[in-house]
Symmetry: C2
Subunit: 240 residues, 2 copies
């Protein structure tokens, strides 16, 4: 069997990947079906076993296949689809639209963690944590209210930053490179204080993004980001 023409300039491992993915997407190999073994593919496609192995490993990492040592390679069950959304630095986002970014710091201090904050940061109640409340503006109009708790162990110098010139996002990216994150997204009606700060009516729908991040084995931050629904959206596009 020969591989499809037009792909012969691609590296061999990529040709193997394309060949198998093509069979899967066309329905020739439905989910659960057993994919030919590495040795079978080696013989039929004419590439080395290590080349075939690389192709199968990468397709497995991308979610298309599952492999079990000794048993074989199978087409993966369709797992829940994902939305991959970019969570960018709000300042960069605004500036790239050609708009003016500014911010106002309402609070930046040490606090003693209550049971809720402690739980969210994976710390003991009573531990000292950092707490900031910052309003972000686009062309003078409020676009995000950022209420953030930070674990001092992960970013000890958090309080000494100038968050008028950099955002907490920028600072934490450098101070505590992200290795794990959790997000919850909801549509909410803002409480009166939040509505006031965002300069919207209490009936305006808001997009709430709650996120926790970890760096290595260390909890870094818990943030509640509230956005007026008509001034902010999340967007993402991904491919396998």
């Amino acid at each position: 069997m020969t591989l499809p023409q037009g792909e012969n300039n691609a590296p061999a491992y990529q040709q193997v990947k394309d060949h198998i993915l093509d069979r899967v997407l066309k329905g020739d190999w439905p989910e659960g079906a057993r994919v030919p073994s590495e040795n079978e593919l080696t013989r039929s496609l004419g590439f080395s076993r290590m080349t075939v192995n690389r192709a199968l490993r990468e397709l497995t990492a991308e979610g298309w296949l599952t492999r079990t040592q000794g048993a074989g390679t199978f087409v993966a069950k369709s797992r829940p689809q994902s939305a991959v959304l970019e969570i960018r630095n709000i300042a960069d986002e605004i500036r790239e639209r050609g708009h003016e970014y500014s911010s106002q710091i309402y609070q930046l201090r040490v606090e003693t963690a209550g049971s809720v904050e402690a739980g969210l940061l994976g710390l003991e109640e009573g531990t000292e944590i950092f707490h900031s409340l910052i309003l972000h503006f686009e062309n003078g109009q409020p676009v995000q209210l950022e209420d953030r708790f930070v674990n001092p162990a992960a970013a000890p110098d958090y309080l000494s930053q100038n968050f008028r010139s950099i955002t907490p996002y920028e600072y934490l990216m450098k101070a505590a490179p992200l290795s794990e994150a959790e997000h919850v997204i909801q549509a909410i009606q803002p409480d009166p204080e939040t509505a006031r700060l965002l300069s919207i009516s209490p009936q305006s729908p808001c997009l709430l993004l709650k996120r926790r991040t970890w760096s290595g084995d260390k909890s870094v931050t818990y943030a509640r980001l509230v956005h007026p629904g008509d001034r902010f959206q999340l967007w993402g596009r991904f491919s396998s």
Copy 2:
């Protein structure tokens, strides 16, 4: 140099990955820093170049490093963080909560694509497309209004499905395995008709998820999913 103890039972390529990631997360190698070459790592760590290569390639695929043939390997600039959110089959989600799922089909028909729908599906205006409008219930309460357009070329049998027993999501997962997806998430105020169908007041905030998917090179579907804010949220957690 020896690798950290306690990791010596891991495969060699994993030990190399852990070693490098540890240096990155500790800040020893800040973003932009050049990582020792494959040959240097081969000599210092005592593994083969192919083992080192596999570790570096995987860290690159995971977003930690960037590599340029001839130039070297560098610690990646922190790219925009991502939220990875599961978009599950609404019926499964409801049933796994121990609740009762049901649905009502308001519309399921062929239509001629207007310029908007055609644009969203990457088709010519005037092309025939499928259009369904379905309300999903949890314990008798509306939880999602699904307004969906489907490209017949990708799912020719769409109209002949019984969407009381399976959801369009389930059907399309099998008929057109997803290879690419795009999402937009917003908080909106529903129009009167949508509010009526969802049994909410027109002032209730709603979470709107707009998604387009592709299978291979073929556009599959464009869906607008509207959810009462107090009855639905998106959640996701990922790690590198």
